[in-house]
């Protein structure tokens, strides 16, 4: 059985935010909502200072705390590891927002558009009223992943069935694939590098790995 993960090489990320823009374009998120973010982190004290870039989104956890607390079963974890939200079931109680240690979820209660109260033409075409008043987050571009079953393509290898942020990354810092496949890019990359998963001590089992050095 496949289990999809994302590997992000922090050594390569240059903080260009192309993945952020690609995600907004692919998923038509409203103003102020970014399912994919790249945080610009300065750390240390002069003269020993560093600047790092940290791409974050839903971690599609192995034990998702959002799924456990969801009172409606709107949040589900699929067999392939993707954590999904059924907008028709969600009541927008925000319990999942409180349960997520990655600040990955958001709720928009009123329609919001880039320029005033009315949508511009492109927003009007893609506006989805089902997403008002419910919890939403990164889906790993689940529609693309599902398309792979129909086309026989491989997520992480064929761009048509790979998340938009991964496709857009200019430095090749983001890699997507099936960690259960010994021949997958993610499996090989994790074998030859040192990496961590964020807040692993909380027992969530995030499916996003951050590479920080070679093995």
């Amino acid at each position: 059985m496949s289990r999809y993960v994302m590997v992000i090489d922090l050594r390569r990320c240059v903080g260009c935010q192309t993945c952020t823009a690609a995600c907004k374009n692919a998923n038509a998120t409203p103003p102020g909502v970014q399912w994919r973010r790249v945080l610009d982190v300065e750390s240390g004290e002069f003269p020993d200072v560093r600047r790092s870039f940290l791409p974050v989104a839903c971690m599609h956890c192995e034990q998702p705390p959002c799924e456990e607390v969801c009172p409606t079963t709107a949040t589900k974890k699929r067999a392939d590891g993707l954590v999904t939200i059924d907008y028709d079931l969600c009541i927008g109680c925000a319990n999942c927002v409180m349960a997520c240690p990655y600040d990955a979820r958001s709720i928009v209660h009123e329609p919001q558009f880039a320029y005033g109260d009315q949508p511009i033409a492109s927003e009007a075409v893609r506006f989805d009223p089902e997403r008002i008043g419910v919890s939403m987050k990164c889906t790993f571009c689940v529609d693309r992943i599902d398309r792979a079953a129909e086309t026989g393509q491989v997520p992480g290898v064929d761009w048509e069935v790979t998340p938009a942020c991964v496709n857009s990354c200019i430095s090749g810092a983001m890699i997507f694939g099936d960690i259960e496949d010994p021949e997958s890019n993610v499996r090989k990359l994790l074998a030859e590098t040192q990496h961590f998963r964020m807040h692993e001590e909380l027992g969530t089992g995030p499916s996003v790995y951050y590479i920080w050095d070679q093995a």
Binding site: D9, L10, R11, Q34, R37, V38, L39, D40, V41, E42, S43, G44, E45, D48, R50, S52, L54, V56, P65, E67, E68, V69, C70, P71, T72, T73, A74, L89, C90, I91, G92, C93, A94, N95, V97, M98, A99, C100, P101, Y102, D103, I107, H109, I132, G133, V134, Q194, F196, R197, M198, H199, E200, L202, T204, Y210, I211, W212, D213, Q214
Partner: protein, 303 residues
Amino acid sequence: MKSARQKTAGKSITPRQQQNWDWRAASNFICGGSGSGLLILSLFAAAAGADVRPAIVLALVLVATGLTCVWFEIGRPWRALNVYRHIQTSWMTREAVVALPLFLCGALAFYTQHIVWQAASAVCGAAFLYSQARILVNNKGIPAWRHPRCLLLMASTGLAEGAGFLALAATLAPPPQPVATLAAAVIALSVLRIVAWRAYLAALRHDGAPSGSLKALAGIDARIVFGSGAGAIVFAAAAAANLPGAVLWLAAAGALAAGGGWMLKYTLILRAAFNQGLAIGHLPVRGRGVSGPPVKPGWGGLG
């Protein structure tokens, strides 16, 4: 750990105050905890011979008010019945499930004044109070809530508030009222809450939490311990000693016990609810060819 800041406007890796639960959600914990605590305490008052009908009505009104407030909070209120779909793991579902027999048993306890229904409503109250505490503790994204000692804190403050409201309700019920017994309950449960509060605060500081949470909670420490806590104990002691105006002393003690709990929960849910924030476990090896220390800004405590 060295300091860190991040530059992207509006998006921080430091913990930030949760913005999704406002006063309406807090009201559910405030009123629901008080109401369920009051139902529990009413059983003992009834066993001691008191007329607890005003207390039962007040308890049911409090719980209903809390649930109504949270109904106005949710994004899709007309789908609210979906809340019953996940009893396997969701404490919010379990809270909603328990609310049904709570109202039924409470109503029957009011009309029949039979000890069996009073006991049943108290059991439902205990289950409701526990469910509310577990809703907070199971939210892994908020360190100040997920601490295991938050469970006892929420339970103890619900009971202390219940004792407080029971003392207030005693002023509405016809005499004779077991003033000394009610005063003893206010004293005992106020002491329990102070102990639970200080144990929670000490453990949170020891184990580490967002600095904003620690600051907000430290800001009410004196008011919880010396204001509402000690005040309620002194006034209840005056009532227990049967000083002139004992019922008024008891009412004042009750108001302080209940008010202190409401302040505690308001602070915990609206002002101390900083999220986990983000962290970099190892700074990437770039440029100089060496890694750097972990980055997890905005946290305090840790011993």
